[in-house]
Point group: C2
Chain length 542, copies 2
């Protein structure tokens, strides 16, 4: 048996590179520990979340025999001990899953015997279980943990790490969303921002207004029932993932007009839809009509109860003023109410819908236009999601609001796929394609030095808008690019020594993560020729 020397490894050597995202503290030794069939012991627990996770990871470990592509020739000459299992202890029985949830964990894998995972919450334990599963590697049929003993102390930089998924332009079956939640858990992502409804379809059951889905879902089979939503919320929670629903108002609501045309403005204007909306079909709630606001509040009340998360996303993006200023009803209303205008109507609308969210004891989230492109002053607890400009992040926190970063220029996964209007042979509006390197290089904290303001940067989300996506391409559009964001959001841009990680340094580990996901049934797209994955550095630009 060799003596183990613990050392703080700032830049993890390539040979260690199987954990994604990289833990904050990752101390390793020089031994190789055999790990033919480590058993996971949850200890005494009444937590179904924990026992569910133990069953899940037990199954992964029983099946998975992971070898990173650059290790295709690696052999293990001898081992210095055997890993018999993993014991888990969770300090708190509080299973609240929210922005404030503690996801930290400490993981020790000795050279011999039992590994130990300690966490404050069950959600921290989930993160540690994922890390544990990623430490297991197989070489010539022999499963081991390399570089034992290992000591890991880990916690995320950003408490909100998400994917925004649009299920309105095109529909995704429940099993697609479940698989996405699985993949998110493999990357320690913790928010599915469900952009469930948009102009094109209303794919979620409504009990308050049943015709919304009846007239608005693409078909009865392309609709999420209450039971589906509840199952997905549980499925997500079991993986430590919050589901934040977005019901985008007052724009992006054409589909409401299939049921309530009387509360809508500029419904499907043709052919000059571009005067009224960012994309067809045009249509916005008619903010001059009290019934439109009532409807919005009904939606908030219904879905604010169905969705259990404490954050409710109100949308508010791409509101088009022409839609209202040219609407006969709005024109009539304004003529009869001197002193009011479209902007004041919008402020009034926002005030009422934000109040409705507060009345449910929830926090509102909204796209940046509500803050920057309207006269409304959102409540200070509103979470502002930025997308138009990378500078919107510093601008948001400078105003004292919390920011979730989703800049189209770096985090929009649909970009670069060309235009989709059939008579337009041009590029996508947010061209070019965002590569994993480009996503990895983006820093949500850029240009923010004030510590108090930096604390207001609470999250990052990549977004998949589904004009050109559906079930056929979901996995490849999301993965492994969302993994690139996941590491920067969990581990930060720099290591413990302040060194900013480069894409060249992390490429080998990123390949591992991509191939691991593929092995787990996620159709993540390849980053490179396999030859490059096998020969780290050999495909770098000189």
């Amino acid at each position: 048996m060799r003596l183990c020397s613990l050392s703080l490894v700032g830049l993890v050597p390539l040979a260690l590179g199987s954990v994604w995202p990289i833990p904050v503290v990752f101390q390793t030794g020089n031994s190789t520990t055999s790990a033919p069939s480590p058993q996971i012991n949850p200890g005494y627990t009444t937590s179904s979340i924990l026992t569910g996770a133990v069953t899940r990871y037990g199954k992964i470990i029983s099946i998975e025999r992971f070898t990173g592509p650059s290790d295709y020739k690696t052999t293990i000459s001898g081992t210095q001990g055997t890993l018999t299992g993993l014991s888990i202890s969770v300090a708190s029985s509080d299973e609240t899953l929210a922005l404030e949830t503690d996801e930290s964990y400490v993981l020790d894998v000795p050279q011999n015997g039992q590994a130990k995972l300690q966490a404050k919450t069950v959600y921290g334990a989930l993160r540690g279980l994922e890390t544990f599963s990623q430490l297991l590697e197989t070489f010539s049929g022999k499963r081991v943990v390399r570089n034992t003993p290992i000591h890991i102390e880990d916690k995320p930089v950003l408490p909100h790490r998400g994917i925004s998924l649009d299920t309105s332009r095109n529909f995704y079956p429940v099993k697609d969303i479940e698989r996405t939640l699985d993949a998110m858990s493999y990357n320690k992502l913790n928010v599915l921002h469900w952009h469930i409804v948009d102009a094109q379809s209303w794919p979620v059951e409504s009990i308050t207004n049943p015709d919304l889905a009846k007239n608005g879902a693409y078909s009865p089979s392309m609709m999420y029932s209450y039971a589906d939503v509840q199952e997905l919320i549980k499925y997500a929670r079991d993986r430590g993932i919050r589901i934040i629903p977005e019901f985008d108002i007052p724009g992006h609501t054409y589909i409401v007009g299939n049921t309530y045309p009387e509360i809508m403005s500029c419904l499907n204007k043709q052919p000059n839809w571009d005067h009224f909306a960012a994309e067809p079909p045009s249509g916005q709630l008619n903010i001059a009509k009290p019934k439109a606001t009532d409807f919005a509040i009904e939606v908030i009340n219904e879905y604010g109860r169905l969705f259990t998360d404490s954050v409710f996303h109100l949308g508010g993006d791409e509101v088009n003023r022409n839609c209202w200023s040219e609407d006969p009803d709005v024109i009539r209303y304004l003529a009869a109410h001197p002193g009011e205008d479209v902007e004041s109507l919008l402020v009034s609308f926002y005030t009422k819908v934000h109040d409705a969210v507060h009345k449910l004891k929830k926090t509102a989230m909204s796209w940046e236009e509500t803050l920057f492109h309207s006269k409304y002053v959102p409540p200070k607890d509103t979470i502002i999601q930025t997308w138009i400009d990378e500078n919107s992040i510093p601008n948001t926190v400078a105003k004292g609001y919390r920011s979730v970063a989703s800049p189209a220029s770096s985090y929009y996964l649909d970009c670069g796929h060309g235009a989709w209007l059939p008579n337009f042979d041009g590029n996508s509006w947010c061209d070019p394609f965002k590569t994993w390197m480009h996503i990895y290089n983006f820093d949500p904290f850029a240009n923010i030095t004030n510590p108090a303001q930096r604390k207001l940067v609470i999250g990052a989300e990549v977004a998949l808008w589904s004009e050109q996506s559906d079930s056929t391409v979901l996995d490849a559009r999301l993965w492994p690019r969302a993994s690139a964001m996941a590491e920067t959001a969990w581990s930060g841009k720099t290591d413990a020594k302040g060194h900013k990680r480069t894409t060249a340094e992390v490429a080998d580990r990123m390949h591992n993560q991509r191939f691991r996901m593929v092995g787990r049934g996620i159709g993540a797209e390849p980053m490179q020729p396999l030859w490059c994955a096998r020969n780290p550095g050999a495909c770098n630009l000189p």
Copy 2:
């Protein structure tokens, strides 16, 4: 029963739009014919190709209940007859599959009774069977053929309509290639240009040089055996598809160096590979060494026999002169042979390998550099595949050579996916992404007016280079964009009246083709939100 009026339909109305590519002559009536279970009768035939196709389409017809997205509300009020079956007659028993093969067919679907398919060859019958299957549509559970009686006379504009697939950068299992051949048959494509080998791997068994695959395939399971190749050739032929193999020489051959480093130049130069190759790893056959030419001829002799098609693709693209001019062996050779230089060595190499192809009584195909960027004058029967410049097509035929059009600017399906060198946060070299509209708008005959020269434009191929593709994304990268090329290559750019078809006009039919493929198990990506597919014209740019 209504009287039928036959009329030549130049621009097929949207309601007729289920056949892709659109037939050259497509006459329709006003009746709707019930088609609950038409039986296909191949007549007396000894052709296993025909009976196989009848079984295949019989199965498709028994399962498929196709409704185009824009017909989601269409109902059929009454039918004017019943289609009982389809009888087939094939004039010739010659089953040679080559550039010259006649693929024409005539298809008549009456208002009542038996449809009739006539073709000169069994391959024409295959095309007609595909058309027949696409005429069947289902509305509220009722299957019909609309607009009967139908009279179709059809044949392709280009005899060579292909997909080039690179299986070297990343590997595709046999079943992926089979599924691709299925999808090709749904689009009447007839050439799989199998770019089987490149620098990164040698994924095909060799009996002459067994170590090539042993040392060059990514793994034993990522290799096509002789049996695999033979099975694929048969699978393709059964669908009327030729497989043209490409063994790219003298460049793009690094992987040969894993077995025969002594016949190679500039093997995996690092880090400045870009001085020696278009992408890593660098490496070319050393044309100063007779053994390298001998090796190339061995490859031609071996695979020219394994692959049965009369065309053999020799590659010849992206040859790098530095690789040789800085090679010590080449320098020594040239010093000892005054009057010779790298260009004369290359001419000598090309002469020998083209002779080898001729000795097998085959026709050579090569990338345009052989013609335009070397001093070699290829034999006049050589088929030149252009990619660098769209003007290379007129330039090729002006020199009297036959041209297959694969311009990167329009037909490279891998473009627009960003760079893939992990330390380079930039765009792909052939950015942007080629949309289906862009592909549809390209005309292989552009700028060629001379009729004799137009006849030399024999084909079009879209190409999928696999740096960023593998099994996870194959279908979505190819489809439905390859369908866009397929229609222009089969039907031409204009209808019978000389009207140039626009992407706006064909979008509805293209959606149908995409959804039909998805129903048949091809993961073709969506073109638009389903709302747009259901509302033709509503998502056009004003």
